[in-house]
């Protein structure tokens, strides 16, 4: 069907996007690789010569490295688990007949519109502050000792904040998928006396497979690089330093561009490992 003519036309049409992204990938990537082999300290006069793999060794042997990889995985994994789980429940709920469905949907998707900096500031100050935060008042109201969220439950707090931001996205995609579910099939199963849990496990969940895949894929890409939520709330203290944040510390706080660049290369490797892992597990759902 596709002629030679349309094939070359297709290539031509794809060219701008591909070339641009290739440039956007290659230029920074090349520069990152270049800097990662250099001793590059902006505050000490910039480029101080080649150092081989020294930056790579130093970055990975730093006591902060493995904890930061773990933190990254915990945050990504935690947020994915929460958003997918609650996203499914919420999508099912929102798909039921009710009054004011449109308004409820608006309320649910609203957090997605809030910029990460603002949501981090609001959560940190107005909810999680141990003295003035609303959660502290709530705990006190029930006679409990207020939780010091950002120091004693720091990772949980960040997972909560980020999940709040991404739950709407997951819910929306899952909701659209549920709406496309053939209701006759479900009704038939109900007639046959299949209990709700079974109907969910054998009909709804398989149908949602693709949507869950999409949610996991897109969110992972964004979650691997979350920054503002940590910068604003804990500044990397209390075990909340992700790999991205560690690179930030090396590049901007320590002003060691070479070391940070080596960290950048590790981050790319980690992202690719996660991506391959994802493809293995969920890729079959994604017949692009």
């Amino acid at each position: 069907m596709a002629t030679q003519h349309s094939r070359s036309a297709a290539r031509l049409m794809m060219a701008p996007a591909v070339v641009l992204l290739l440039g956007w990938m290659l230029i920074p990537l090349t520069m990152t690789l270049y800097f990662s082999f250099k001793k590059y300290l902006p505050l000490r006069g910039g480029d101080l010569g080649w150092v081989g793999f020294e930056n790579y060794v130093r970055f990975v042997t730093s006591s902060a490295f493995w904890p930061s990889v773990m933190t990254t995985l915990i945050i990504v994994g935690g947020v994915l688990a929460i958003t997918v789980l609650f996203g499914i429940l919420l999508a099912i709920l929102l798909n039921q007949p009710m009054w004011g469905q449109g308004v409820v949907r608006i309320l649910v998707i609203a957090p997605f519109f809030v910029m990460p900096t603002v949501s981090a500031l609001v959560w940190k100050n107005m909810f999680m502050d141990p003295n003035y935060g609303l959660l502290a008042h709530l705990w006190e109201f029930f006679g409990a000792e207020p939780v010091q969220w950002l120091s004693q439950a720091s990772l949980t707090s960040i997972v909560m904040i980020v999940s709040w931001q991404w739950l709407p996205f997951a819910t929306l995609i899952l909701l659209t998928a549920i709406q496309s579910l053939d209701s006759e099939q479900l009704e038939a199963a109900e007639m046959d006396g299949a209990p709700a849990t079974k109907r969910f496990a054998y009909i709804t969940l398989p149908h949602l497979g693709r949507a869950i895949t999409v949610v996991i894929l897109i969110q992972t890409i964004f979650l691997l690089s979350i920054f503002a939520e940590i910068f604003v709330t804990t500044g990397g203290a209390f075990g909340t330093k992700t790999l991205t944040y560690l690179i930030y510390q090396r590049v901007l706080e320590s002003q060691n561009v070479g070391l940070g660049s080596a960290g950048g290369v590790y981050a790319i490797i980690l992202a690719n490992i996660v991506a391959i892992f994802l493809m293995r597990i969920v890729g079959k759902n994604l017949d692009a």
Binding site: L43, D129, P130, Q148, G236, A237, F238, G239, E253, Q255
Partner: protein, 435 residues
């Protein structure tokens, strides 16, 4: 705003008779502290006087620091004036990144700048940034609670007295914490505070060969003292409290004592924002018994011109305006003497009007008690009191203070935190080629 500015500019232009002067628009990066916000509000006065207009880039401290450092080290030229501190100025000046301020006008009276401020903002005798305001640290305490506890604050107390007084003032049922101190991670937050506390216990960051000193008993003593005292008498969650958090706690009457920047004095005595405005006393920052150094730091927020800006003349005019005696008068006239930018000029402290301000004398005494050239009991190879004036320090101290904050929050012991601090400091110093 910009319309009004241009009207002023036009008026000013018509007033300028000497040839060659023409209006520029300068871009200034600054921090979102109260005094700078006030300066922003008074920009019209500058525009009226010189014809130049100002674009403000006001950012939170950490963002500002990251923004201006990137720009200056790449010679980006995004700003004509940068607001920087006593830490950055000598380092950047040494790199030749700043325009030397050695050509200030006679009426600016550069000799009027407080010697401590001037030397802290110079490199090899050349001034690279003009102090907008300067500060040390001191004790602010509630006179009423002190009296209730049956104690009297000496003018120069020791840490041992402070701990005792804090315990006596603490009243958990009424939500009163004997003492509020910084615990928040970050080299300029809790890092600065614990460093001066260390100094006042005889500890130091490095020995003369740049070896980290966190394995020394003085540090263990200082850190344990701090943690024990805060657990006894500090507010819940002090591990995340910085300047702002403590300020609002104090203003809400929840602290008996607070040791922090001298500039806070004008906030805690301002009846509009503070519920305890008329019950605040001041004293010198403490030392540990038998240690000569006190927990006084020295800091200035200063205005500097990045080398290579096209608008050097206009920028220089702005700096002369903003850090002048006239500017202080201008603020005094509009907002009262208590709200003028403190700690930069000697003449301010000689002014009889300003001497009536309750915290003026203690601020000056605190500044004078700070000596950046000799910050610690034992000799050190560095300059700076609550910081070490080397480019690597900000990164190292932020990580060290994160370890400390984790200890404050009870996530690790003081010993663990010190061991980690020792290792990571030596590691980073090695990477930088000091050891």
């Amino acid at each position: 705003m910009s319309f009004r500015n241009s009207v002023y500019a036009a008026t000013a232009m018509s007033l300028v008779t000497a040839g060659g002067a023409f209006a520029e628009i300068i871009t200034i990066a600054t921090v979102n502290n109260g005094d700078m916000i006030r300066m922003q509000g008074l920009t019209d006065d500058f525009t009226a006087k010189t014809g130049h207009e100002v674009e403000w880039v006001t950012l939170e401290e950490n963002v500002l620091r990251q923004r201006v450092t990137t720009d200056i080290s790449t010679k980006g030229g995004a700003f004509d004036i940068m607001t920087i501190g006593m830490y950055e100025t000598p380092i950047w000046g040494a790199n030749g990144w700043l325009v030397p301020l050695d050509d200030l006008s006679a009426e600016y009276d550069v000799d009027d700048l407080l010697p401590a401020m001037r030397s802290g903002l110079s490199h090899e005798g050349t001034l690279y940034a003009a102090p907008f305001y300067g500060e040390s640290s001191m004790i602010m305490y509630r006179t009423d609670l002190m009296e209730k506890a049956g104690l009297e604050m000496p003018k120069a107390p020791t840490w041992q007295f402070i701990r005792e007084a804090a315990a006596a003032m603490t009243d958990r049922d009424n939500d009163i914490n004997g003492i509020c101190l910084r615990g928040k991670a970050g080299w300029g937050e809790g890092g600065a505070f614990i460093t001066v506390t260390g100094n006042s216990f005889g500890a130091r960051w490095f020995d003369e060969d740049w070896n980290a000193q966190f394995d020394q008993p003085e540090w263990a003593e200082a850190l344990n003292f701090y943690v024990d005292m805060m657990n006894e008498s500090g507010p819940a969650g002090f591990a995340t409290n910085g300047f702002n958090e403590n300020l609002s706690l104090f203003q809400q009457g929840k602290c008996g004592m607070w040791i922090d920047a001298t500039v806070a004095a004008s906030f805690v005595t301002d009846p509009e924002d503070s519920t305890v405005a008329d019950k605040v006393g001041f004293a010198l920052a403490p030392n540990s018994e038998g240690v000569e150094k006190r927990a006084n730091w020295l800091w200035a927020w200063a205005l500097a011109i990045p080398a290579g800006t096209q608008k050097e003349d206009a920028a220089m005019q702005f700096i002369e305006w903003a850090t002048s005696k006239d500017y202080i008068e201008l603020v005094a006239e509009k907002e009262g003497w208590a709200n003028v930018p403190p700690g930069a000029r000697s003449s301010l402290y000689e002014n009889p009007e300003y001497q009536k301000v309750p915290f003026a004398q203690m601020t000056l005494d605190s500044i004078k008690a700070a000596d950046p050239q000799n910050p610690t009991v034992e000799p050190v190879p560095y300059v700076g009191i609550q910081f070490v004036a080397i480019p690597e320090f900000a990164g190292i101290a932020t990580e060290v203070s994160q370890e400390f904050s984790a200890a404050y929050a009870g996530q690790q012991t003081v010993e663990e935190a010190l061991a980690k601090a020792q290792a990571l400091t030596n590691d980073a110093m090695e990477a930088a080629g000091y050891r």
